[in-house]
């Protein structure tokens, strides 16, 4: 449980942020200059709020009324910065063990061998930071923060200084450690793609204020927050597991509560969990099962909700088995199909619309 309620003023910039969140991954989302980094720095104890309270897992780290301000080295929070900030005078192994050696022995729950394996660092241990690629350096920085045995991991735009390929590489490792080590993460980003791929709960910041907090889809989908969330595509995130690969056509079949989904090849093993985000505009609706059609995913669904809107576009809520989906269609189509709640329909999803950005490792 993360409970933050802080105020701080720097020049003209007035930060006033309050939120509570309990989730494996809490996303702090906002444009640059919205105060995201200030919030994580305050949580980490690097800068002191003028007033307020920071409580992590029922332990008060900062409380201006009670005069509590725990020193950063005693907060037990791992911090991964935008730049990897590895110690240049130490090799990879010594970097990894820097915090581990200082953590009390009975707090040693996260094992160096495990982290080395998880982050693929085995072959790099004797290298110096200057000889590593950007992605490797950031992986070492993540491992170093983890091995200090934190109760919470703070990540401030950890992908920002990497190129696209490295971003994907590191993102995948972050997903793995989230699932494998079950360590809560506060993830700061201005990227919708990263937030929806990783986070369960999102806190939306704008100009130093927290505007909303809640699960990703409900916050990011809210119309009135559109100016702050930007062009966010409404959609639904579903949890799936890999069933099989079709080597010949380069496709992967994913199973979820309610059916199966065919997507372009996902690099993971059968049985692995994968998170897929399906944008509402990528779903079409048919009343009968279409034949002779290029669309690979035809799912039986039940209409649960229809948004009441005056414009050209409406959102139709559906369930496939127990899994909720949203389809965005024109009001004309809605009228043409005469859709009603409770009606049985077919949801059509092009496999090619589920690209790399929408398929992540859950």
């Amino acid at each position: 449980m993360i409970d933050v309620d802080i105020e701080r003023r720097v020049g003209d910039f007035e930060l006033k942020v309050a939120f509570r969140a309990e989730a494996p991954v809490v996303g702090l989302f906002g444009r640059s200059g919205s105060g995201k980094t200030t919030v994580v720095n305050a949580i980490a104890g690097i800068l002191r709020p003028r007033r307020g309270r920071i409580v992590i897992n029922e332990e008060t780290l900062f409380d201006s009324d009670l005069g509590i301000d725990v020193a950063p080295e005693r907060r037990r929070l791992g911090y991964v910065f935008q730049d990897d900030l590895l110690f240049p005078h130490l090799n990879v192994e010594a970097n990894l063990l820097y915090g581990y050696r200082r953590a009390s022995v009975d707090a040693h729950l996260i094992d160096p061998d495990h982290v080395t394996e998880l982050l693929g660092l085995r072959a790099l241990l004797k290298r110096t930071p200057e000889t590593l690629s950007g992605g490797e350096r950031q992986r070492v920085a993540i491992g170093r923060a983890l091995l200090a045995q934190p109760r919470l991991l703070l990540m401030d735009e950890p992908l920002a200084s990497l190129d696209l390929r490295r971003q994907n590489e590191v993102l995948r490792y972050i997903e793995q450690l989230r699932d494998d080590l079950a360590i809560p993460i506060v993830y700061v980003s201005h990227s919708v793609a990263e937030i929806t791929r990783l986070a369960d709960t999102v806190v939306l910041l704008s100009e130093g204020k927290s505007l909303a907090a809640g699960d990703v889809e409900s916050v990011m989908g809210r119309m009135e927050l559109r100016p702050h969330t930007g062009r966010y595509e409404a959609g639904a995130v579903i949890e799936t597991s890999v069933l099989s690969h079709d080597v010949e056509y380069g496709l992967t079949t994913l199973g979820f509560a309610g059916g199966q989904l065919v997507v372009p090849n996902v690099e993971s093993l059968a049985g692995e969990r994968v998170r897929v985000r399906i944008r509402a505009r990528d779903i079409s609706i048919a009343l009968e099962r279409p034949n002779a059609i290029s669309i690979l995913n035809v799912l039986e669904a039940t209409v649960t909700a229809i948004s009441q809107e005056e414009g050209a576009i409406v959102d139709v809520g559906m369930t496939v088995g127990d899994t909720p989906l949203v389809a965005r269609i024109t009001r004309k189509s809605l009228a043409g199909l005469d859709l009603r709640r409770g009606q049985h329909v077919y949801a059509l999803i092009k496999a090619v619309s589920l690209d790399r950005r929408s398929v992540g490792y859950a």
């Binding site: 980490a44 104890g45 690097i46 020193a71 950063p72 080295e73 005693r74 907060r75 037990r76 929070l77 791992g78 911090y79 910065f81 730049d83 900030l85 110690f87 240049p88 005078h89 130490l90 090799n91 820097y98 915090g99 200082r102 953590a103 110096t128 170093r144 923060a145 200090a148």
Partner: protein, 228 residues
């Protein structure tokens, strides 16, 4: 090769220079760190005080030392009475004079290298559980090592060459305070001493070059050490 007089002079010079570096280095590191990392009232004063020996005539520094640390000086009498430490007309006084004259050079070099250490690395170290003192010892100090080596060498070389403050403070006593420069000076004042003055000068040059090579080697070793 070397006469026993010459050997004595060289050994005394080395002893004076090494002691001056050894005792001033810890203080120089602390002051350099304070100047590089903190802002406080009186910082300019401290900075000026450290630099004073660089701009004052050495004779003035020597005379000031004589007034303060001499037998009847305020601090000198007190140190003698309570700790039995005497600087006046002893080799320890020569080391003190050398340390003070070399101090600004030492602090400047160390301060520059400490200011160049990325402060964010110190912040990271703290989030990894290291308290301030540990951060200093495990991050700041090793990363500033090249500057510390340079500072120590500059001060060492300055100590070997110290003349004005030394001769004013502790005079020229053969076997006690007669270091290389003092010996060379008195030989040039002695009829027929030219040849020996030249020999000692060559030795002084050799010592300086040796110190330079040693520091290069130390710096390189320090930077390869971090690789292993």
């Amino acid at each position: 090769m070397l006469s026993s007089d010459e050997l004595g002079i060289i050994l005394l010079s080395l002893k004076v220079a090494l002691c001056s570096v050894a005792f001033s280095l810890p203080l120089a590191i602390v002051i350099a760190y304070v100047l590089a990392r903190f802002d406080f009232a009186g910082k300019t004063m401290l900075d000026a005080l450290v630099h004073l020996p660089l701009v004052l005539p050495p004779v003035v520094v020597g005379y000031a030392l004589l007034l303060i640390f001499g037998k009847r000086g305020a601090l000198g009498a007190w140190l003698d009475q309570w700790f039995g430490i005497v600087f006046a007309f002893r080799w320890t006084g020569a080391a003190l004079a050398a340390a003070i004259m070399g101090f600004p050079l030492m602090v400047r070099a160390i301060r520059l290298s400490m200011a160049a250490v990325d402060r964010r690395l110190e912040t990271v170290a703290r989030t990894l559980g290291a308290a301030r003192v540990r951060v200093f010892a495990s991050v700041t100090l090793p990363l500033a090592l090249p500057g510390i080596v340079t500072g120590a060498l500059l001060s060492f070389a300055r100590s070997l060459g110290e003349f004005g403050a030394t001769i004013t403070f502790v005079s020229n006593i053969p076997g006690e305070t007669e270091t290389l420069p003092l010996a060379i000076y008195s030989l040039t004042q002695t009829p027929g001493g030219d040849a020996q003055a030249l020999r000692l000068s060559v030795i002084a040059v050799a010592l300086s070059i040796a110190a330079l090579i040693a520091s290069e080697w130390l710096t390189r070793r320090a930077s390869t050490h971090k690789r292993s």
